[in-house]
């Protein structure tokens, strides 16, 4: 069967499966919408949480970035899993005991103030919309390949489908649909990885294959990869850090506390049956997330090896990478490269006119590699590969069967759509309930509230799709910005609300605003005001990464420090929270007396 037909078939079947399950589950019980986790086994709940959590950034973008970054890419792996330890211990059980449904509700009640709740809504919206911009970038990549169009057209199509999915689908909250999405997504990720690990090392398990020897040799895969990439002038794969050790440290920290502060992740733990379950369900979610996350570094390293091996025959055979006949002839380049050229995300340009493709780092500081390239008559790197295509192109690069390629397309779409829909739900709840009903129009009808929610979803999609056309970075990089925003604004406020009885509303509000402002200031200086191209103001802060070499994606941890410091300073000079609030905090700290969450929030 034709590749394109197979892709349509597999993607179509996967969507039929989700819709089928949604219809079947719905017929049983519509009333349990909010208590979706109530009657579901914690393991199932963990799978659903994992599907919700793993987005286009995890599925499509992350391994590609790791392939580019090497060792430094580990910050995504540690950051996006280590946050679950914080979530499980510091927030989830207490928020579950508190028994409300949204983050702004918790902030508003704990800090006895509608203004605090409104500040929380602003933080939540900023983080969520930034997150969706990253998703849209990923959705654009997936659809552009799926439909064979440019990535811009891919984004327009994606916007439409995400809208339909979120507004009319209502699949979110139906746990079994998400379980199905998880299964599609994880098969789509691991099957090609197993194939490729077998091809390269003869070891089926990618987690072990990455640490094994190349098939038929006694050189380990990582050692060979280090050798190939350093020869071609790139940084050594297993040691190249992300900027600096300090930057990697704060970047990882930022992703970890951002994970624990993201509203759509926290929301999942409000609806588990008990405090006890809130603790362990984070563990189960992490088990299912880790299946993908421990496979990703293998996908990254092996894809990088295969990519180099595709354009340079000396990678597999050994010998001189700079020999004239080692680079493949452009005419004989594999079909998958031609397919991706259509999307504009992979480009080939014959700079030295020899009809062959040279892929190397032409800006290298490695004098040896530079001399070799010049001696070989190479006139610059001729192949540009967008990092976001690595995972989707991976099975094609390894020449795997068509059904595997189709499965990966289905998995990428499932990941992108489920998370985008989840975030849109969080946005619509925050706008319609926490903002419109609580603050502006307390007597709005239920119908009006629903309409406000849908309008806010549509607005969020249009804004993020438009900004996604000129994204501030790769999908995973943009999503990292969202984590930084959540880390600097929401996480400290929630944590202080639980762990400090004396923290008052003035302190919490000042902290949130200061953390958010500082982080946005630094991010916008690099990426433009509200991510609009051309409005960046780098000279004002003294050039890129001027704060100790810290990149904007990593700045959330600094913002969180500012948040804590400002909150405690303001708290010192303003009056204590009232007695009943301090009692409430004490009650939140013990599990006994937990009640089912009031669904009609």
């Amino acid at each position: 069967m034709e590749l394109q037909t197979t892709i349509y078939l597999v993607v179509g079947l996967s969507f039929a499966l989700y819709i089928g399950i949604a219809v079947w589950a719905r017929a049983g019980s519509t009333s349990e919408f909010y208590a979706a986790g109530g009657a579901v086994h914690p393991v199932m709940n963990g799978m659903a949480t994992a599907a919700d959590w793993m987005s286009a950034a995890s599925f499509i973008s992350m391994a590609g970035l790791i392939a580019n970054m090497g060792y430094g890419g580990g910050l995504f792996l540690m950051g996006w899993t280590g946050g679950y330890v914080l979530l499980a211990m510091l927030l989830a059980p207490y928020l579950r005991k508190f028994g409300k449904f949204t983050v702004p509700q918790f902030i508003g009640d704990r800090f006895y103030s509608k203004s605090a709740s409104t500040v929380a809504v602003i933080c939540l919206l900023t983080a969520s919309i930034t997150y969706i911009i990253g998703q849209m970038t990923g959705v654009g990549v997936a659809f552009s390949r799926f439909l064979g169009v440019s990535s811009e057209v891919g984004i327009y199509v994606g916007m439409g489908i995400v809208f339909l999915y979120a507004v009319f689908g209502g699949m979110k909250g139906i746990t079994y649909t998400q379980v199905a999405q998880y299964i599609v997504l994880i098969l789509a990720y691991t099957i090609p990885a197993i194939f490729i690990s077998l091809q390269l090392t003869g070891v089926p398990l990618p987690q072990l294959g990455l640490g094994a020897d190349m098939a038929g040799t006694d050189v380990s895969l990582l050692a060979r990869l280090d050798q190939v990439v350093t020869d071609l002038g790139f940084g050594k794969y297993t040691t190249t850090t992300a900027g600096s050790t300090l930057n990697m440290f704060v970047y990882t920290m930022s992703l970890m506390i951002g994970t624990a502060g993201l509203p759509h992740v926290i929301m999942r733990f409000f609806t588990v049956p008990s405090v006890k379950d809130a603790r362990s369900s984070a563990g189960w979610a992490l088990v299912f997330i880790a299946i993908l996350y421990t496979t990703a570094p293998a996908v990254a390293a092996m894809a990088k090896m295969n990519l180099h091996g595709t354009v340079n025959t000396a990678v597999a055979k050994g010998g001189d990478l700079y020999a004239a006949e080692a680079s493949i002839k452009a005419e004989e380049r594999p079909d998958w490269m031609k397919r991706w050229e259509k999307t504009g995300l992979l480009k080939f340009e014959d700079k030295n006119g020899d009809g062959r493709i040279q892929y190397y780092n032409d800006a290298t500081k490695n004098a040896d590699a530079k001399a070799k390239a010049e001696a070989a008559g190479w006139k610059g790197n001729e192949l540009t590969v967008n990092a976001d295509i690595i995972v989707l192109a991976n099975p094609e690069i390894a020449l795997l069967p068509n059904w595997v390629i189709a499965l990966v397309a289905a998995g990428g779409l499932a990941a992108a759509l489920s998370t985008a829909a989840g975030l849109l739900m969080a946005i619509s709840a925050a706008v319609s309930h926490d903002l419109v009903k609580n603050v502006f129009m307390p007597d709005i009808s239920e119908k009006g509230e629903l309409l406000a929610g849908k309008i806010s979803m549509a607005v969020a999609i249009v804004i993020s799709g438009w900004l996604g056309l000129n994204p501030p970075g790769f999908a995973a990089g943009t999503v990292a910005l969202a984590f930084g925003i959540a880390a600097s604004s929401l996480f400290p406020a929630i944590m202080m609300g639980i762990f400090s009885k004396k923290m008052n509303k003035e302190g919490a509000m000042a902290g949130m605003l200061a953390g958010l402002f500082v982080t946005l200031f630094y991010v916008f200086a690099h990426k433009g005001i509200f991510f609009i191209k051309g409005t960046d103001f780098l000279p004002l802060i003294g050039g890129p990464n001027s704060f100790f070499g810290i990149t904007p994606e990593a700045f959330g941890a600094i913002g969180a420090l500012v948040n804590f410091a400002v909150a405690f300073a303001v708290d010192k000079v303003t009056k204590e929270p009232p007695e009943h609030i301090q009692h409430m905090v004490e009650a939140v700290r013990i599990p006994r007396g937990s009640k089912a969450v009031d669904g009609a929030h």
Partner: protein, 84 residues
Amino acid sequence: MQHDSSGYWKATLGLLTKILIVWFVVSFGAGILFADLLNGIKLGGYPLGFWFAHQGSMYIFIILIFYYAKKMGDIDRQFDVHED
């Protein structure tokens, strides 16, 4: 025993501190600050520091959460504040 809420909270914070130390040591310690040092040791084909950053810390995170859930359950019962 329900009145000993400060004892309960102290026990909780003690457990959290222990776990956070391990959490920090495996990721920020072995995976980042001391990665170069550990890379001298090999785990199969993996340099050890690289392994902690790309594999090991994630396995340990999972163990930490389940350990926490179990120990917290014990503390709940010890101070008689568990759910029914």
